[in-house]
Symmetry: C2
């Protein structure tokens, strides 16, 4: 077997959580689709379902961060890079049949009232992604506060556009939001080297 049983469980759980949410995903389903048994799942994750979910979300978070980092680094201009991110998300979403969206949103929304580890893992993921965008803007010469506000906006807008794209089964929301975000970023100072400051 190429991947270990533990890894297969985490990867499968991540995919199922992304598509069905926390409550909608059963331990038995995870075991079955990971080609593992119930005993194996509880062997590697004595903490039960919640522990599996946290590991899965952390895995998804790292995976999405890698995608984000790669897309951001591929373009020198931050505005173009943000637009490129949206395009990449649109492409992957379409290829998955509109089901593989943001890996943490579904799980996050289901555990809102609680202060569960799942909730915390989702919050950490959002924070990490936002930081990636913020750093890209800082490297592009943006003012610290502008970079922070733009990063929040970019991540939130991409998040929302992905949901909209999934629900409407169309790339258009992501494409449109990508364009508008690029325009917004460019409205600060115009090009890569100048610093904004209209705040």
């Amino acid at each position: 077997m190429q991947t270990s049983t533990r890894d297969r469980i985490v990867i499968t759980a991540a995919r199922l959580l992304q598509r069905q949410g926390y409550v909608g995903t059963g331990i038995k389903q995870i075991a079955q689709e990971a080609q593992a048994t119930l005993g194996s799942v509880y062997h590697f994750f004595p903490g039960g379902k919640e522990t599996v979910a946290v590991a899965a979300i952390e895995h998804s978070s790292r995976e999405f961060a890698a995608l984000l980092r790669k897309a951001l680094d591929a373009e020198a201009d931050p505005a173009t890079a943000v637009d490129s991110c949206a395009g990449q998300l649109a492409e992957e979403l379409r290829e998955s049949g509109w089901i593989d969206g943001c890996p943490v949103t579904a799980a996050a929304l289901e555990t809102l009232g609680t202060d569960s580890p799942i909730q915390q893992a989702c919050a950490a993921a959002l924070r990490d992604w936002e930081e990636l965008v913020r750093d890209k803007l800082l490297r592009g010469g943006f003012d610290a506060q502008d970079a922070r506000e733009l990063a929040t906006t970019v991540i939130s807008a991409l998040e929302g556009a992905e949901v909209t794209a999934q629900v409407t089964r169309s790339e258009e929301p992501l494409r449109t939001v990508g364009r508008q975000l690029a325009r917004l970023v460019r409205s600060y100072g115009g090009s890569a080297q100048s610093a904004g400051g209209t705040g």
Copy 2:
């Protein structure tokens, strides 16, 4: 009793769906919190859980549309109106203890693979809300295509900002996104120069 049993079921289901999603909300819980019995629920909704959910989402959609319309109409300038919307959402979110977010996102994400009536109701809700924003922009003198793209961006960004605000338990994402959206809107042909009094 002031409200009818049917209405209590729909309103209760709407609130629970918003907070717990579709899978996480049980028919028995709906009945109990609506002070109705299982028999009543199945009397009014012979189609079962899915029928209740669709009615609840349609209710939430109308309710949110009313809030949106009111916030948009309160300001003449579209950019200021959008910012005001975000502020209103932030306020209500904080007051609810960060649990009453977008009324359809959670349910939408759980039924993505399917072409269930729930999915369609969520898609219709998003479309309606976007149309409200688009009409506001058109009344503000915006070009048709600009209005459409901006409306998509505004709804998506607000959607995402609401989720981010819920997860991080902070108004800041909504406040920030509101400011940035206003800036984006203003970047099209200046601020409220045309169509001051729209009534």
